[in-house]
């Protein structure tokens, strides 16, 4: 706070000059990509909880992303809540809706679940699009980056904020993976019937996965709305759900780092492949197809070339040296 007041009074300390220099180095374009990629990382991570850890295929994850974004946007623009309250509330609302929709969803068999979640995505998008309260096809505008230290956050700072939250979520994931909940999810994923016989409360743990995954997706939605400053129903359609799912599967479903690697690669891909604009989506589709056809475990899956190579040429020599 004190440094901030110094800036306002006109004396520019060195550290601040360095900071502005640094933010110029990281151009606006790059920081936009970085923020988008971290948001995708959070989304892929949240879907990984539902689909990877608990083994429930969801084709409608963008619905919860959208619920988070709309909740935070409505709270910010209509009710005047600051960012610091609207975004956590968005996560809570998304989690509650996730529980509400999750319970009837879990009555149905796995393949039904995939299509039901897809249906929920279409219905939620239709609600945003057709109910005037949510701004219709025009969407909601006028959402700003959060304020702190008495001014609006810069984009690099916002990036750091999201990154910190993401690291915190990863720690949470690591903790959960080692707890009873993680164990119960693994047992449900591997063999639901056996888990039930052993006394695992299947419905309860599935709902926990749904709530957690949806809430984190809602959090990502809040970040996304405040970053874009303008949201439309189309941002949260079925296509978006597929993109998120592809990131998870591409990187390696159920692994901790796989979805993140997938989000980074597939998030940067559209930017890198600008020169082949015309064929971009084709490449995307073929890449997915080839990946699943030849490396069905994903890049970091336990049976992939990459993991085997790592184990063979990096880990084994290292452990030999150590012994």
């Amino acid at each position: 706070m004190r440094r901030e007041s110094q800036v306002v009074s006109g004396r520019t300390p060195n550290s601040f000059r360095l900071a502005t220099y640094g933010s110029k180095m990281i151009s606006g374009y790059l920081i936009t990509i970085l923020i988008t990629v971290v948001i995708y990382c959070i989304l892929a991570h949240s879907l990984n909880i539902i689909t990877g850890h608990a083994g429930q295929i969801s084709l409608g994850h963008a619905a919860f992303f959208g619920i988070g974004a709309y909740t935070s946007a409505m709270l910010y623009t209509e009710a005047g809540f600051p960012f610091w309250i609207s975004v956590p509330l968005a996560a809570m609302v998304a989690g509650m809706v996730g529980a509400l929709l999750g319970i009837p969803c879990l009555r149905v068999r796995d393949d039904f679940l995939a299509i039901t979640t897809m249906g929920i995505n279409f219905v939620i998008e239709a609600v945003f699009l057709y109910i005037p309260f949510f701004g219709g096809a025009m969407g909601i505008g006028g959402i700003n980056l959060p304020n702190w230290l008495g001014r609006e956050m810069t984009k690099p700072e916002y990036f750091l904020l999201i990154l910190v939250v993401f690291v915190f979520l990863l720690l949470l994931d690591w903790k959960l993976g080692r707890s009873w909940v993680g164990l119960a999810w693994a047992s449900i994923r591997e063999d639901e019937q056996a888990a039930g016989t052993m006394g695992v409360d299947i419905v309860r743990f599935k709902v926990i996965a749904f709530i957690l995954g949806s809430a984190i997706a809602g959090l990502a939605g809040g970040f996304y709305a405040h970053f874009l400053t303008f949201i439309m129903p189309q941002n949260f359609g079925f296509g978006q759900s597929i993109v998120i799912l592809c990131m998870v599967v591409f990187g390696g479903i159920g692994t901790r780092w796989g979805p993140i690697v997938g989000a980074i690669i597939l998030g940067i891909l559209p930017e890198v492949s600008r020169p082949i604009m015309e064929y971009r989506t084709l490449v995307y589709g073929v890449l997915l197809l080839a990946m699943m056809r030849f490396q069905p475990g994903g890049l970091l899956g336990s049976e992939s070339i990459l993991t085997k190579g790592l184990r063979r040429y990096v880990l084994r020599p290292l452990s030999k040296k150590a012994s």
């Binding site: 295929i57 393949d111 995939a114 897809m118 929920i120 799912l245 989506t281």
Partner: protein, 285 residues
């Protein structure tokens, strides 16, 4: 007016049935969600359009469209799905999604992003009785669907191959132990399902008088909703659900004039039914 809407609804529902039947048959045997089925539907429309431009005879182009779609379906099964069957269900699903995205893009790149008009002369003529009127294309849809459904029913119930197909849908392993070539049955399954989707593509191309690259995207998801509504893998249920969805869409939009997206109707119907019958309309646990 009411009769008119009824006819429209049934015509649309018949096309849905043609698309969804292939999907439900594939699910019945392989237990995979074949999203690229809608890509085959669009492929059928493109092949039909192209051969119509080349030959000028609609019925022949319909047949060529069906044949082309059938070949594509068999190739997809052989080279993409067959090696993935032992894996978790999500692997073929993602392959299917990737293939569908790639197919749509391929259509756009090869045939151009614009819509192509498909104004075929069929030679059936309109039918009208008082205020009730069936257009030529509606008659065409009803006629072709009826013929195909009759053929399918006869095939499944009267022939040995049909019997083997139904047996495979119940338990492929046991069926193979009785000396049935399950690989061949799966190929026949894809052949019939894809040919029906190709026919649906040509019919919609003529009905809407256009063929365009993303014509498969809405049917891709709607057909899945219909298939679930009818009870995954259940053939009569799928036909019933298709007609219901076709009618519901036409009535919700045309008669009740509710400002609601036409394409969400199928999903709302699906979610409502699943609340009470978790295995679909005619599905069994």
């Amino acid at each position: 007016m009411l009769w008119q809407q009824l006819a429209n609804g049934i015509a649309i529902g018949s096309v849905y049935a043609l698309i969804s039947l292939g999907l439900t048959m594939v699910y019945g045997i392989l237990r995979i969600l074949h999203i690229a089925h809608a890509g085959i539907y669009a492929l059928g429309a493109y092949i039909g359009w192209f051969s119509f431009r080349l030959i000028g005879d609609f019925w022949l182009s319909l047949f060529i469209g069906m044949a082309g779609a059938a070949v594509a379906g068999i190739l997809i099964e052989r080279f993409l799905y067959a090696p993935l069957l032992h894996l978790p269900r999500i692997a073929p699903l993602i392959v299917s999604i990737g293939l569908f995205i790639a197919m749509e893009e391929a259509f756009r790149i090869v045939a151009g992003p614009h819509t192509l008009t498909y104004n075929a002369r069929i030679g059936l003529g309109d039918f009208s009785m008082g205020s009730f009127r069936l257009t030529e294309t509606q008659i065409l849809i009803l006629l072709v669907t009826l013929i195909i459904l009759l053929f399918l029913w006869a095939f499944l119930t009267k022939t040995r191959t049909g019997l083997a197909m139904r047996a495979c849908a119940q338990d492929a392993e046991t069926t193979s132990s009785f000396g049935v070539n399950v690989g061949a049955i799966i190929a026949v399954n894809f052949l019939i399902g894809s040919a029906m989707a190709g026919a649906a593509g040509v019919l919609i191309g003529v009905y809407d008088n256009q063929v365009w690259p993303t014509m498969g995207s809405i049917p891709a998801y709607k057909a899945l909703a219909i298939v679930v509504l009818g009870g995954l893998g259940n053939i009569p249920g799928t036909v019933l659900a298709s007609i219901i969805v076709g009618l519901a869409e036409t009535f919700v939009i045309g008669v009740l004039a509710i400002p609601f997206p036409r394409d969400a109707v199928a999903f709302i119907a699906m979610i409502l039914v699943l609340m009470f019958k978790p295995y679909g309309l005619l599905g069994k646990a």
